[in-house]
Amino acid sequence: MSRARRLGLTLIAPLIAVVAAALVTSLVLLGVGESVGEFWAVVLSVPSSRLMVTIVNNASVLYLSGLAAAIGFRMNLFNIGVEGQYRVATFAGAYFAGLALLPGVLNTLVAIGVAMAAGAAWAGIAAVLRVTRGVSEVISTIMLNAIAGGLVAFLLRELGEQQGQIRRTTTIPESAWVPGIPLIPGEPSLVYGLALLALVAGVGYAVVLNRTRFGFDLRATGASETAAVASGVNVKRMTVAALLLSGAVAGLIGMPDLFGDSHAYGSTIQVGLGFTGIAVALVGRNHPAGIALGALIFAFLSVQSNALGIIAGISPEIVAVTQGVVVLSVVIAYEVVRRYQLRIEQTEVARALEREPAAGSEVGT
């Protein structure tokens, strides 16, 4: 198959998905008698520079979340627990930084380390259960999500402090804050300084997965466990390593906001980031660039939808339907394309085989 054709086939799947999602969303809106035109006018309007900054901020956070999920996916591990790992980790990081045990930047760096360790530890429970007791990580991480919610609420009550209506950890000393980046000239709101973490993590993900032995083993185990075992991969160790790594990256999700904006972990923390990350990873096919695109699309949709209620009188919740349909139709489209590709390859091989005996007989004569 030619390169161009292969590339075209790779790109057509997400295109189908976006069209399908747009179609379904429009049909749902039509069904309940809302104005489809107004919906798209609001969602597809050019965002103001303030909203653009918000989109970049949200996308960077979703990207980290998507990476965390993707690390597991590459090994056929379904870490549904990114949500719980992110919460436990953000709390741990915020609490540690709030203690102000270390001066300035050192505090920031170690707190990020603490958050990563906490996320990894929370994922580690699922990893240990999986390799020692054979418990499916899908179920255990779902349970751990719920447990994380209760645990963090409890810790917040024990270790946090009351500030008005909200219970939150001690505010991080100002020396440890990370200043924002002025991305758009003249725009007062800034991009999180730690949004760069997403860039670093993305490059790290690409390098580790494609350029190291660990990454090769990980992908090999995901592609075929038996083949990986035959080539000497210790699958149990890889499972633990992949889940720990996934949890550690999940620990980063809360950092840009923590050090850039909220400066404490409070009961107002954004929930659902972990689940959206799974969706983003699926849309991006676990590819570092694909996940970035997915994160941008999702951030764009949720930020743009906020105005729906005020301008068009449509509930912004409709965007969750759009996002969900994008995920489902993307995976279906990829599957259909994969089958189509397979069939083309099969016919090509068959055709090549038909030519073969003729070539062989020529040599004989």
Partner: protein, 426 residues
């Protein structure tokens, strides 16, 4: 998914059944009664020792049943789907659709129409999952996750469309809904309730159970129990059920015998969605007084866990659901105190388990369980109550513990979660 080895599973789990073997198993069923009796005894002892009277009052047990049924129905949905080889993590989403359908149709057309509407909404979710996984061969977990996202969004969006502006309704909740009719056994109910308050060891506790079962039994509860009996009969005693389960054990073998695997899987997943929809309806109509956003609160996942706990069998699933429903009820009724008393039961259970392990000459395991039991016992003795945050996570911790302790004895359908395509046999 994890690959649980099909090792022989003695004891509560029962020996693995070859596909279609005549279900002539006296042991699991009598074991169930033994377990129930032991549970009652443990509860009675804990009640007397800790003085937490609400631990098995008729009110708590009634609430336990009410909270167990949605979990059980969701689990039953999971059972249909997974017996046909389709992992259904979208149960949560189908349940959400069920609560919405129940809210809309019950408000406009009454209780029974509400039930049908809820089941139809759930079935739509099931159909979607079936189309993605069976027809297009998408990974089952991925499709389930997507369905959960779609369902949560659709419900939140449609709730605003359906219920905004209705009297008593709002953008996130429906107006109060009429409850399903309920029945009681007049004389027995009163007598049992009286006896339950007498505080006699075991006798009062047994009376509590009777009182809970004879007072204000919802028609939906009976229907749910009928669904269990029906499922057991259909899946294990009819040719249809045999074919359906063969699709979950070895679809290629089923295909060679002329079974239309796609059709059976689609039927199973759609039924699964309908049952999850029923679960949602029960939650909205019986367990609470109307639809509310986020009402399911992960019960679809707990149902899935209950099904795994029950080793992919209806009896075990029901037991698991009752256990989870009970921990939920204990937490809701008198929160910290009851769950605190349950610590004693857990500690005793762990210590007994340790002794059992010792008898089987597994010293390391025995020590582990003994230490765990000791820690829980110390926790019980050192505190008076459990913070509400912890009581909230009881069902989830219980699920995790059960999975960790018993996962080796579980045997899921052999081809569960695997991609199947027609004509790729051999």
């Amino acid at each position: 998914m994890s690959t649980v080895a099909g090792a022989s599973a003695p004891g509560a789990a029962g020996p693995p059944q070859p596909v279609g073997a005549a279900p002539r198993r006296s042991s699991p069923r009598s074991m169930l009664w033994v377990w129930l009796l032991l549970g009652l005894l443990a509860l009675a002892s804990a009640r007397v020792l800790s003085g937490a009277d609400d631990i098995d009052s008729p009110g708590t047990l009634g609430a336990a049943l009410t909270l167990a049924i949605p979990i059980a129905l969701a689990g039953l949905g999971g059972l249909w789907s997974e017996r046909a080889g389709v992992v259904n993590i979208g149960l949560e989403g189908m349940m959400i659709l069920g609560t919405l359908g129940a809210g809309y149709y019950t408000f406009h057309f009454g209780v029974w129409a509400g039930l049908l509407g809820a089941m139809a909404f759930g079935a739509i979710g099931g159909l979607l999952h079936g189309t993605a996984t069976v027809v297009f061969g998408v990974d089952h977990i991925v499709s389930g996750v997507a369905i959960n996202i779609i369902a949560a969004g659709a419900a939140a969006f449609l709730a605003e469309v359906f219920f905004s502006g209705l009297p008593g309704g709002g953008p996130t909740q429906s107006p109060a809904l009429p409850n399903a009719p309920s029945f009681g056994v007049p004389i027995l109910s009163g007598a049992a309730s009286d006896l339950a308050t007498k505080d006699w060891f075991v006798v009062s506790d047994a009376a509590s159970v009777v009182a809970a079962l004879t007072t204000d039994m919802s028609a939906f509860t009976l229907l749910a129990l009928a669904a269990f009996a029906g499922t057991y009969w259909v899946l294990w005693h009819t040719p249809f059920g045999l074919r359906l389960r063969s699709c979950g054990e070895s679809p290629t073998a089923a295909e060679t015998l002329g079974v239309n695997v796609y059709r059976y899987k689609m039927i199973a997943v759609t039924a699964s969605g309908a049952l999850a929809g029923f679960a949602g309806c029960y939650l909205a109509v019986v367990a609470s007084s109307g639809y509310a956003n986020g009402q399911t609160g992960g019960r679809g996942y707990i149902g899935l866990a209950a099904m795994i706990f029950g080793n992919w069998r209806p009896g075990g699933l029901l037991t698991g659901s009752l256990l989870f429903g009970y921990t939920d009820a204990a937490r809701l009724r008198s929160g910290g105190e009851s769950v605190h008393a349950l610590l004693l039961v857990v500690a005793a259970g762990l210590l007994v388990f340790a002794l059992w392990q010792l008898r089987r000459a597994r010293a390391a395991h025995a020590v582990g369980f003994a230490v765990a039991g000791g820690v829980v016992l110390f926790w019980f003795l050192a505190t008076d109550t459990i913070p509400s945050d912890f009581t909230q996570m009881t069902p989830f911790v219980a699920t995790l513990l059960v999975l960790a302790l018993f996962s080796q004895r579980l045997r899921m359908p052999a081809a569960d979660g695997q991609r199947y395509r027609r004509g790729e046999a051999g």
